[in-house]
Symmetry: C2
Subunit: 709 residues, 2 copies
């Protein structure tokens, strides 16, 4: 260490270990070669030196270091996701050598903007800077960071200190005037700048008057945005940002089989029947109505009831055996109606505050037109037969899969995109994709980008029930929503662990949709829980996740199963069902209440704000959610045991508002519809499944809580 | 979800939430277009489709996903560091769509190798794969990963299952033979392959004999490495790896001022004096001998004793005021000797098991020849005067700094590199860089790469005492060793916290060198601790960090300070000192013991193996270090209180060898030189500074511990 640097070791050293206060380098200020008077040329450098720079946007780039940017997914390889109107808070470590002052901006733009928008970053501490911006367009965006050395700020810092020490400032004042003359003000500032320069040049060099002008707040304000920026560094990546519409983050799904919207198992339900049924779905408070495939169903090797290989003549078959003589992926199963009927349904749904989500399943029945029209899209065995789907030693002869490579590129990929576009142009803006993890990731990355380029409001939900890495990958490459393991998370510890995972780093890109059941999943818990279990699972899904979903039958506590399986007995997947939706014991009122609570409370419009709360009983889970402004807070306590009363102590998170453990808070019981006040942090509750399995409370802090902090 | 996929939901679903067992897709296998017989063309795709692929090494690239690679620093932006002979363990999440089997290799090579070396990765669990490789050359390396779909392994899996189910395998056998015919075996394997194919073709199609051949272990071994690889994905980055010689990770430094190697303050010490002194340094067990600058010292504005501005005529000045009429950065201060003397010193040091480390400080005295020869390398003020170093309102008139930009590129950068090369060619292989954080990061990145390209054995030590982000950055861009905050970490909690930080993620790139003192840092702790404190700090530095350093005077417990400062009184920085190295109370024997313990115990040759141990007394710190094979383990307990006896319970980490809490272990007290056995996990110890402040024990597990696991 050099002598003088040593002089100023100070209290900072203790704080950060040690910070040597070295001299400010004036390397970027105007200089005059001694005796020569050659003017200083900033940003001029020989090109002959091979400087391997990480951030080589311009000469001088890389001198300001930009690291540890958040949010950034996998080193910038994948985009993060937000919704329109949601602020993106960017942070980074930004610093340079020596003690030169720096400035930095966050730059952001939509993919189709030609110009960057800029937001000045502000210093937090310890080389950390931050800024936030709020995208207002549903589109793919990028953002990055620029940092620079600020010669005026550095000079000003020295002038202020030297003035306090009573030193002569003639030279420094001259340097300052030169930098001010170099400023590039906004149009609005240019008159002020001209006036300032006139005044500066009229004042005596280094005079009190001149130094007052240089150090004035107005000059500083002018120079912060307009002053020279030296050695600008640009971060080495433009980071991706998918800006979705709000339904990507907050939605309530209801799934039904249109063919079962009938009062007679011998009469196939139609789109016109579904139109009649819309008020029912709307009344339950849902906003997305999702159908399994509505495409023509193959005849060859058709499945019978309960997934048997021996169908009766009148069995309707599985909707997932896509394609017949009536058409393929862009056709409608004739018994459901016509394309006009479908259009009428989409319009009617819209009138009922519902949007339609369709299933997108790629596999084909042996009768699919593609097999004859595009044999090159399928795999043929050496014996000339088509390769059926199989899971050795099993073979599934009602289904063949396409081959995505070989001669299928680009024709199959383009055809699949065109199928999607067909439905999008028919007004469908949500596609729930069947088994995406068995199709190539590059295809999904490409096709989602293709669709979203022209239709950024189209949302893709990944129905991937597989290992964690693939499920995360599908979200990373573009899926806006994802199915989850929720259906198999029943214990308190595993729900809490899973919610911590989802609401943590994964929350930047993976949006869970908590389905309480699906046509494929009749959860074991519900098979044995009775009605109370349905209330438990509905409460958990609707309050833990901002996206949740129900497959019809759940609201009437349907749980009859194939013995020892997670399958429904007499599953709707293979037959037409008639449901008695007013069946005694149904929980329609409760679901309606949950959906209304969700709609009315912004704290439930996100999942990343999950806040686990301490409870004393492993059967009782407690958690809260707050809006960023803390002006809406929902606290939920659920007894996971559907059979027994559980007593429990729990904590009210008074600390969130800076309230003492002895503080009080007003509570609105949203299911019960009454209010009361809780005094102190620690409380007791009994939750008896024969009375109530859960409470959902809105906590109302004192109006003056912000003043008390 | 499609019907058949549903069938095989199984126990796995519970484990990972749910894994649908979908059919294996045979998309990459030989196929014949139905009725046409056109052979299948793998890897042929239209170029017209704009598929935005992340890993687009080849057509089909990106279908195998490679993510979450470790080690990887900052998304691959910076290299990690290892030493020659140290295994690099690489892991990644690697997976593909569907149930196709995959294979993957780690690829690695030195920067100057034209070919990759490959290591097959092995499956761990949950899509995680691993492989390790061991660089044997001191050089910069890169590594990456390749993954592919393995059609033979997929087919084989099906054949084995179908065979067990008694199915006809004629078609599958034909597919297998075709894949085996496509194999590209090594030279050693080609005869075996030819024999295999002959036998396969002689056997009846689908016969037991043919299937036996296809499923044999030898066929599998052949195909694992030689079989067709479909749709190869390459990871999107080649990750950097700096492979250093061992001294980068394990070194014991001793710092002295050559001019003080004298018996008379009026006689300037010389390199010849230092040669006479080498046995002393060697005897203490050090292996690096480090000198502050040995360059000519400026006369203008020379500093006097205790950093005064009024030097006496015979004051030698600060060694950091570099440059005089006698020369600049590539010259030797005449009073130290000649270049021949220096060469003799380097050679003699080598003979004593020592290597020389030199200080590299860039600043110049006002008398430095560069100021006249290269005025363009300095900053000149509008009044024609040179810009001195300053920390407003202070100005340091004995030092000027160079300007790295403007007209200094490339000439100054090249000159600084040439100065380094000059000393490197004189046999110096370690450069300790003064204040690197006040010079541009792009310069360091460039110059270290330049030097290490031809001299990969040159080590750079960053003397940056500044904020954490800059200290980390210097290590990321190439510095092999770094000074640390150790000197200011005195309490148990802060030492433990800091060691966790250094030995954790930082350990991949940041190699600490724990100096107990420096000419600039006379730690407050040592000013008040007496002799016991020196033993404490030496023990901590020598056993916590694999690199440690001592500035001469420490071994004789020198601690006289300028009042209220961390500076030494009558500092050697400004005057010639004569030391009585046999002063009563010296700790030379202890330091010698520590260095011998370090040398003899491989567990102390790393810092990333730091294992904190529970102790009951906040004044007593305990930790262990183990080799990866657990065949060497050093346990250290230190009483941080230099004045009082401290009693403490502590734990022996029996669990490291799978021993029960009631197990026993043999202990060698390395400072005391005796052995004993400890029974059980929990023990008590008293450490009294008047007897011993620390114990350093070698734990010797039972010879059969591996059998007991």
């Amino acid at each position: 260490m050099s002598d003088k640097a040593k002089k100023s070791k100070d209290a900072d050293r203790k704080k950060h270990g040690s910070m040597k206060e070295d001299k400010i380098k004036k390397s970027d200020m105007k200089k005059v070669i001694k005796g020569g008077g050659v003017p200083y040329q900033p940003h001029v450098a020989s090109q002959t030196l091979q400087v391997e720079a990480t951030h080589d946007v311009s000469i001088g780039g890389g001198r300001v270091i930009i690291e540890a940017v958040t949010p950034e997914l996998d080193g910038g390889r994948h985009p993060i996701k937000v919704i329109v109107g949601q602020p993106v808070v960017v942070e980074a470590d930004i610093f340079t050598d020596g003690h030169e002052k720096i400035g930095c901006d966050v730059l952001w733009r939509a993919g189709d903007d030609s110009e960057w928008s800029r937001v000045p970053m502000v210093f937090i501490a310890n080389d950390r800077w931050t800024a936030s911006f709020t995208p207002t367009r549903n589109n793919r965006h990028v953002y990055t960071i620029e940092g620079w050395r600020d010669p005026f700020a550095s000079l000003l810092d020295g002038i202020i200190k030297k003035r306090a020490a009573g030193l002569n400032l003639v030279v420094e004042a001259g340097e300052a005037v030169a930098l001010i003359a170099d400023a590039t003000p906004t149009a609005a500032q240019s008159a002020a700048l001209a006036d300032l320069l006139t005044a500066l040049r009229r004042a005596a060099e280094g005079s009190e008057e001149q130094i007052d002008l240089i150090t004035s707040a107005s000059t500083q304000a002018l120079m912060v945005r307009g002053g020279p920026r030296h050695q600008v560094s640009r971060y080495d990546r433009e980071l991706g940002l998918i800006v979705d519409r709000k339904a990507a983050l907050f939605s309530s799904w209801y799934e039904l089989f249109p063919r079962s919207i009938t009062d007679d198992v011998n009469r196939h339900g139609t789109f016109r029947d579904v139109i009649e049924h819309l008020p029912y779905v709307q009344d339950l408070g849902f906003d997305v109505l999702y159908f399994p495939p509505i495409t023509p169903i193959g005849l060859k090797n058709r499945k019978g009831r309960n997934n048997t290989l021996t169908p009766a003549a009148d069995d309707p078959g599985s909707v997932y055996a896509i394609g017949s003589a009536d058409g393929g992926h862009d056709a409608i199963h004739p018994e459901l109606g016509t394309i006009e009927d479908f259009r009428a349904l989409v319009a009617a749904a819209h009138d009922h505050g519902l949007e339609i989500a369709l299933d997108f399943a790629i596999q084909c029945s042996p009768d699919h037109p593609w097999i004859k029209e595009h044999p090159e899209w399928f795999v043929w065995r050496p014996d000339g037969t088509i390769q059926y789907a199989e899971n050795p030693p099993k073979k599934y002869e009602d289904i063949v899969n396409v081959n995505f490579y070989g001669d299928s590129i680009p024709s199959l990929w383009e055809e699949l995109r065109n199928v999607m576009l067909f439905w999008v142009r028919e007004g469908v803006r949500i596609l729930r994709v069947d088994n995406p993890h068995t199709k190539p990731i590059p295809f999904w990355k490409w096709v989602i980008a293709e669709i979203n380029r022209d239709y950024p409001d189209v949302l893709f939900l990944a129905e991937a029930f597989t290992r964690p890495a693939m499920m995360r990958e599908l979200a990373k490459i573009g899926y806006q929503q994802s199915y989850t393991y929720f259906t198999w998370r029943n214990e308190k510890w595993e729900i809490e662990q899973y919610m911590r995972e989802l609401s943590g780093a994964m929350g930047d890109y993976y949006r869970p949709n908590f389905f309480v059941n699906t046509p494929d999943i009749n959860p074991v818990y519900l098979q044995t829980s009775g009605r109370a279990g349905f209330l438990v699972r509905a409460t958990l899904a609707a309050t833990l996740s901002s996206n949740w979903g129900v497959y019809s039958g759940f609201e009437i506590c349907e749980a009859r199963a194939l013995p020892g399986k997670e399958e429904y007995l007499d599953s709707e997947k293979y037959e037409i069902k008639v449901w008695d939706l007013d069946r005694p014991g149904n929980i329609k009122d409760y679901i309606r209440q949950l959906n209304h609570i969700r709609r009315d409370n912004p704290a439930l419009h996100d999942f990343r704000n999950y806040l686990p709360l301490a409870t004393s009983n492993p059967q009782v889970i407690g958690y809260a959610k707050l809006t960023p402004a803390k002006d809406n807070c929902i606290l939920t306590l659920v007894n996971l045991d559907p059979h027994n009363r559980q007593d429990c102590s729990y904590e009210i998170p008074l600390w969130q508002w800076g309230l003492p453990d002895t503080g009080s808070i007003e509570v609105e019981d949203l299911l019960g519809g009454y209010r009361f006040t809780l005094y102190g942090k620690l409380h007791q509750i009994a939750l008896d499944p024969y009375e109530r399995s859960a409470v959902v409370w809105r906590l109302i802090p004192p109006a003056d809580w912000k003043d008390n902090r």
